[in-house]
Every structure is written in structure tokens, then in C-alpha cells.
Amino acid sequence: MKIQINGRWYEAREGEMVLDVLRREGIDVPALCAHEAVEPYGACRLCMVEITHEDWGGWKGNVTSCLYPVEDKLIVQTHTEDIIELRKTVLNLLLARCPNSPEIQKLASEYGIDTTSFVPREDADNCIMCGLCTRVCTQMGFNAISVAGRGYGREIATPLKEAPPDCVGCLACVKICPTHHIQYEDIGTTREIWGRQFELVKCKQCGKALITREFADYLIENRDIPADYFDICDDCKRSGTARDFKKLVHWEEKEEAEEEVSA
């Protein structure tokens, strides 16, 4: 099927969301809570676009492109006056929530907002409540963190705000966080995240810390990975392979030399 974006026609596939097409085609629409690893959510509202269709009798609407499924001949406008003003308002509000976040500052300034018109949050942190961390945690199968509370007091929290029993220290939440809010620390062979400490598995060859014991065990048990897979780190595995390869090459050279001699 084809959809029209800002006057040009693009190919779209059944089951895709409008944002998938926008991203594939490199059309610049901001989105802070959408990530290909997780289901769309619709929390940041930045990816809103205007849609219409020739069969809709002139009806137009504003929808979040991350959640709107494509349909044939859908007509999309990504930068109408109202849409731009909405993004400005959202960024203005986010800047009040997270005044110190470089990512939010940069995005807001792209939309011409350098200081917020609203009251900045006291004790502000950099969490924009996009929910990517909780969704990826669910997707990984752990459900170690969740949203707690509601309204302005909503927060990302561990059960009872204690060290989360279901966390395996995989760092998926850290890596997906768009504002680098979630922190962790690796000291020696210990990892600390969400107030819980994990022992890291050391490479049997080079001694480098790799992955938490809990995460390794989870993967071995659930993802059809050999039990000794995490004994040696990727680097050591690679250099091992390289060594073997070298031996092979040397062996061939030796063979050839012997053949020549015998000839």
C-alpha cells in the first residue's frame, strides 16, 4: 500500500504504524517514548501528525503516529501549524519537568524553546516518564520495575521501593532511557542498579567482568544458550578463534612447503 506524507507518496506495509514509515523514510518527527524494541505507548505525544483520507469527506484529525496503523492512501502532514505548536507546548512542559536534561534542552531548542514558560519542577531529575524502561523490562520478561503513583506524582519504582527481587541487572532499562536518567555502577566485579548489588561473571581467561550471574543463568535457562557460554568473554573467544585460524593457515603453509620439498 502507499501513504502520502507531506505531499509525497511512500510505500507502507500492512501492520506498520505511521511512525515506522516516517522513521524508515528519514522524515524528521520527534518521538521520545517510541522504540522498535517495545510496543508503542503514546505517552510523549511529540510524534503527533495530522491525518486525512480522500474517502473521509474532508475530515482531518491529529493522531499519535506511533499508534496509528497505516492504511492505503492515508494522507499525513507532519508539520502543520497546530502540530508544531503542540510539540512546542509539550517540549515547554518537559523542559519544566526536566530543566537539566541535555537531551530535552536540545530538542526544545530545535523548536525554538530555550527556557520554559512554566514553573520548573523542584528537585528535578531527568526522568520524562516515557515508560520505555518499564516496557523493555516487561519485554525482557522480568517486570522488575513498574510505574507507581499517578498524575504529577507518577514515578518509576521497584516493588515497595526496595531492591527489586526480579531484577537481573541486564541494563536494558539503562540503555533504552532516552535521557540517560537511569544510573548504574560497575565497581570491580560488582554491579549496582536499582539499589541492588549483583556479582559479575569473570572471564576465565582474561578475568574481565562480563555479565551478572543472574542474567547469565536466565539466558542459559531460557534462550537455548550453552551452559559454558559465559565462561569466556567475547574478546577472548574472538582471539581464540583468531589463534586457531592462524594455526590452520600455518599448517597449510607447512603442508605446501613439504609438498614442494618432496617434489
Partner: protein, 621 residues
């Protein structure tokens, strides 16, 4: 329960109804003690206990404890506790436990009327003897509330006697699901939860979706401050809700249905469980209802008290055991709802109307109300009116008729200022909108909405900015916080309204508030955010002067916002000393018969002196 058998045919149902009627006819008198929310608060439990106590010692001939019924809400909550004596319809209000003995000895034993317990018409000051002669009731048309106050909600026989479960018999044994849907479509009934979507169309769409499983849900998560229509129906007539749900489930092809009810309504939960048990026992629920192939179970899902769970998609998540958060509804829940299956969700009041539509026909129903909003609507009329309570009027009734004819006008002869309809995200309408007919479309056009039926009347001592502040705070607290415009936007909007009430806002702030409101509406994910700025927008639309008075003159015309008012004692003061003791900070001094003095330094502007002064001697400036 005498009737142990399953009612598996219309004939059996009619025979049972006849039996119940005969049994009822044997009761020479019936004493209906209102157990509605208002009367419970006013102490009806003690009244009932007193009747029991007296009856235990005193023989009254035909009148036994069976004659005493704990009913649902009679409606005139202002005057509770209420006791109605049938068949005469003698209406006793504000009954005290000390008066119970009199009722037994005089009215029940000798048929004498106790004058001082009768309702007094606030306008004519005359006592009114009978229920139906009271203005409050005379002007109402009670359909959804038809049984409230007339039956014991825990007694299925009372319900059957008043045509209960007749529609189930009629529909299951004589109509196809399509015919049922056509009848509902013909009636024109629109969803009473506030959305106003035509119920018949909803049912038809759901039935039309290819699926092995479909669900029906009743939304009993009424959470608007001051609203208790659904609560009263669930408490006072739970079988009518079940009956409507059975018909709906048959029409759309559901095998399981759910009632989502707030945990804060313990009596509703209790009565619904009882009703489900009784309905099951008599074969109105369970396998092969009315001897047909149709089977249905109704389950109760108890909500934890989040306002946003009244939103359909959040409600379905909550029923499924997930966090109650709305989702985008680009795919409607009639197609993909509870557990991703096609789901019909209607409100308590909508379901309560369904049996009537089935029994009397869609044409009959659409003859009531207006062309586009058919039937009646229940409202909880609260605030500064003489007769607060639960009412039901035909659609198209004007606000003026509701407030002045039924509500008896503004309390204490004060002046009307505004009426708030549609719950927290509804809006406030001023005096010149009083002649608007109440229906779905008119109220929306005027900047408010029908909502589920909350109606709060305000007098001239109300500050409209303060009202906006109150409702915005409610929404800030109740927003789930999922999306940015609703979570951050409403919070900032509320902060700015607070700034207005403190006299610290500028006209530029007002512009920013209007701008922000526009984009909260455009950007929010669910109905809560999309209507969230309404408390501000409707008040600024109709009472802009009041905002400007706060901003420019630094005055609060309603005399409410503490930062902008001060209390002063004028020369009407008689020196009665009544205001001295209530002052919590000892700011008032004075001797008897001399004008008192108020120390502005000490005064916290709590208004305690103003409330007790009988001589209008305290001015709010």
C-alpha cells in the same frame, strides 16, 4: 424464598409474579425506610433498629416486621432520613429516633398523621401529606429510578412483582438478537455514562465483529464528586442492572459479563452480589436461561478507586488485572476490548433502562425526551439548592425547571450564580444559560457537558476561579500521568489558577493558560485530559470579569479567595458576642452591646465569624 424452582419459562415467571403480588397484598401497610446514601449518613439505620425494637414488644395486628422494608434512595436526600408509609404514600422526612414511637403509635396503630414530620414546601410553607404531591417528585419522570424507594433491593420477589425479569423472558423466548438490537436502536437510547454514544449502534458493531468470545461490561465506576446516580441504582435496584446486562449479552452474544464497581460503594457491592446469587438461584443467570440455549454469568470486578478507571480502556485494563491506564482507541473497544475481544461497555443507568425499552418498545421510549436525546436522565442535584437529591427528568427539561421547580430554588433565598454539570471535567454555565434544554448536544455546545449526571448549583457566594481551582486539583490528582499534556499540562494549569486566586497572576498568564488549555485538549490521550481544561475554559468563558477582578483589581468578587479578601465588622453589629468564641485565633474582641473589633493582623480569614453572624454585621471586602 418460597419459590425454590428455576424460572425456565415466561409462564413460570408470570405465575411467580402473581404469587409475589398476592403475598404483597397481604401486607396491609408497608413502611419504607430509605437506605440511600444520604439517609444512611443521616442515621436511617438507627431509625430502622428502633422500629424493630418497638415491634418486638408491641403487637400491631396485621403489621409485622415483614411490613418494614429497607429501600434504596427515595431521592430527596436533603430531608433524610425518610420514611414512607404505603399504600397511602405518607411521606415523613427528617425523622428522628425519638419520633419512631409516635409513628408506630399514631400513624400505624391509629392512622393519624403526624403533622410536623411532613414535608414543608419551602415556597408556600405548607405541609404536604403525600409523596407524589411534593413538587420535587411531581415534575420528575422516573424510569431508570423506577423501583428506587419502592422495593427492598435484597428481595428478588419485590423486583419480580414490579415486572422484574419480564424482558429477559420476552427477549430470550421470542426475539432474535438482531431484533433486540433493532429495538434498542429504535429507542435511540444514548450512553448515560457521559459519552452519549448510541447504545444500539455499539451493540450492533460488537455483534458484527468476527470473534469466538464477546464481553459485556457494566461501568459502575462513578467517580465524579457529588454524583451518586449509579450508586443509588446499584444499591437500590441491582436487579434492573442485571436484567439490562442479560438482554445486552444475549443481543451481542456474550457468555460472560462484568460489573466494574467501586470498592468505595460497599453497599452497592453487597447488593449486587446478593442480586447475582438470587438471580442465579432462580435461573435468570447461569446455564440455559429461560430454558433456552443462552447461558450467562455475571462477575463483579471491584475497582480500587482510581477516577481514570471510569474511562473505558483503563477500566478494561483494570478488569484484566493490569494497571488502569487508558490506551489510544484508534481501534475501538467494541472491536478489541477486554482481553482483546469485542466488548460492549455501558453505564449502570443505560442498563437499567433496557428492560423498559424491551417491555414497552423503542417507540415508547423515544416518545420521551427530545429527538436526538431520547428518554430521561438521572441527575444528582447538589450544592446550594433547597432540595438536594437524586432526580430523573425527561431529556430536554431546562436547567431552570430542574433547579427551581424540582430543586426548589437557591438555598436561603440567595442569588443563582452558576451550575456545574458533567463532573469535574464538565463546565459551569451562568444564569443566561438556564433556559437551555438539558440534552447531550446542547450542553456540549454551551461549553459544558452532560457527563454522567452530576449537577452542582452555586450561589453568589461562590468564586468561579476557586471552583476552577477545585476541579483542576481533582483532575491533577486523578490523571493517571501517562501522557505529557495531561500530567504536566493540567499540573501547570492548576498552578496558574492558584496564582490567580492569590492575586499574583497577570493578563499574560491568562493568555498562556488559554494557549496551554488548547494544546492539552489536542494532545491528550484519553477523555480525562481532553476535557481536563474545561473547568478553567468554561469559567473563563462565562466569568472572565471575575478572573480580571482577581488579576487587575486584586479582588475576589465571590469573597472566597483568602489572599484577596478581608473581613470587617460594620455598624450593624449589635454586640451579641456570638462571633467571639468561634474565632480560632482570638482576633475578635468586644463587650456585650458594643460594636466588636476585628484585629486584621491576627485574622486568618477563615470565615467562622461571618458564618455565625445573624445581623449581616460582617462584610467581606
Amino acid at each position: 424464598m418460597e419459590c425454590e424452582m428455576k424460572i425456565d419459562s415466561p409462564d413460570k415467571l408470570n405465575a411467580w409474579k402473581e404469587e409475589c403480588l398476592q403475598k404483597d397484598a397481604k401486607l396491609k401497610k408497608k413502611v419504607m425506610v430509605c437506605f440511600g446514601p444520604g439517609c444512611l449518613a443521616a442515621g436511617c439505620r438507627e431509625i430502622y433498629a428502633k422500629f424493630e425494637e418497638i415491634l418486638a414488644e408491641r403487637k400491631l395486628g396485621d403489621i409485622t416486621l415483614e411490613s418494614f422494608k429497607k429501600t434504596g434512595c427515595h431521592g430527596l436526600c436533603e430531608k433524610g432520613p425518610l420514611v414512607v408509609i404505603e399504600p397511602e404514600g405518607i411521606f415523613y422526612n427528617r425523622v428522628r429516633t425519638s419520633q419512631v414511637k409516635d409513628i408506630v403509635e399514631k400513624t400505624l396503630a391509629k392512622g393519624e398523621i403526624i403533622e410536623r414530620l411532613l414535608y414543608k414546601n419551602p415556597k408556600t410553607k405548607e405541609r404536604v401529606l403525600k409523596y407524589h404531591d411534593i413538587d420535587f417528585y411531581k415534575k420528575q419522570t422516573r424510569l431508570a429510578l423506577r423501583n428506587l424507594g419502592h422495593i427492598d433491593p435484597d428481595n428478588i420477589e419485590d423486583y419480580v412483582m414490579r415486572d422484574g425479569y419480564q424482558s429477559v423472558a420476552k427477549v430470550l423466548t421470542g426475539m432474535t438478537p438482531e431484533e433486540v438490537i433493532d429495538e434498542v436502536k429504535l429507542s435511540g437510547i444514548r450512553g448515560r455514562g457521559g459519552g452519549g454514544f448510541p447504545a444500539g449502534r455499539k451493540w450492533a458493531t460488537c455483534r458484527g465483529v468476527e470473534s469466538d468470545v464477546r464481553y459485556v461490561i457494566c461501568n459502575g465506576d462513578e467517580g465524579d464528586p457529588g454524583a451518586f446516580m449509579d450508586r443509588s441504582i446499584m444499591e437500590g435496584d441491582p436487579h434492573s442492572v442485571l436484567e439490562g446486562m442479560i438482554v445486552a449479552s444475549y443481543a451481542v452474544g456474550a457468555r460472560d459479563a462484568y460489573i466494574y464497581v467501586r470498592e468505595e460503594y460497599p453497599l452497592a457491592v453487597q447488593h449486587l452480589y446478593q442480586a447475582i446469587d438470587d438471580a442465579k438461584e432462580h435461573g435468570f443467570l447461569g446455564e440455559n436461561i429461560m430454558g433456552t440455549d443462552f447461558s450467562l454469568d455475571i462477575h463483579i470486578s471491584r475497582g480500587g478507586g482510581a477516577f481514570v478507571c471510569g474511562e473505558s480502556s483503563a477500566l478494561m485494563k483494570s478488569v484484566a488485572g493490569e494497571v488502569g491506564e487508558p490506551r489510544a482507541k484508534y481501534i475501538h473497544s467494541v472491536v478489541k476490548g477486554l482481553w482483546d475481544k469485542p466488548t460492549v461497555l455501558n453505564n449502570v443507568e443505560t442498563f437499567a433502562n433496557i428492560p423498559l425499552i424491551m417491555n414497552k418498545g423503542g417507540d415508547w421510549f423515544r416518545s420521551i425526551g427530545t429527538e436526538k436525546s431520547t428518554g430521561t436522565k438521572a441527575f444528582s442535584l447538589v450544592g446550594k439548592v433547597e432540595n438536594t437529591g437524586l432526580i430523573e427528568v425527561p431529556m430536554g427539561t431546562t436547567l431552570r425547571e430542574i433547579i427551581y421547580d424540582i430543586g426548589g430554588g437557591i438555598k436561603d433565598g440567595r442569588k443563582f450564580k452558576a451550575v456545574q454539570t458533567g463532573g469535574p471535567s464538565g463546565g459551569c454555565l451562568p444564569e443566561d444559560k438556564l433556559d437551555l434544554p438539558v440534552d447531550f448536544d446542547t450542553l456540549t455546545k454551551a461549553g459544558s457537558m452532560m457527563g454522567s449526571g452530576g449537577m452542582i448549583v452555586m450561589d453568589d457566594h461562590t468564586c468561579m476561579v476557586d471552583v476552577a481551582k477545585y476541579f483542576l486539583k481533582f483532575l491533577v490528582d486523578e490523571s493517571c500521568g501517562k501522557d505529557v499534556p495531561c500530567r504536566e499540562g493540567l499540573y501547570q494549569l492548576h498552578k496558574m489558577v492558584v496564582k490567580v486566586t492569590e492575586g499574583k497572576a497577570s493578563e499574560a498568564d491568562l493568555q498562556l493558560m488559554e494557549h496551554l488549555s488548547k494544546y492539552i485538549i489536542m494532545g491528550s490521550l484519553c477523555g480525562l485530559g481532553k476535557s481536563g481544561p474545561n473547568p478553567f475554559l468554561s469559567t473563563v468563558r462565562y466569568f472572565r470579569d471575575e478572573y480580571l477582578a482577581h488579576i487587575i483589581d486584586k479582588k475576589c468578587p465571590g469573597g472566597v479567595c483568602r489572599d484577596l479578601i478581608r473581613f470587617e465588622i460594620n455598624d450593624k453589629c449589635t454586640g451579641c458576642t456570638a462571633c467571639i468564641a468561634p474565632c480560632p485565633v482570638d482576633a475578635i474582641t468586644g463587650e456585650k452591646d458594643k460594636i466588636h473589633i476585628l484585629d486584621q493582623e491576627k485574622c486568618t480569614k477563615c470565615g467562622a465569624c461571618y458564618a455565625v453572624c445573624q445581623f449581616d454585621a460582617i462584610d467581606i471586602i
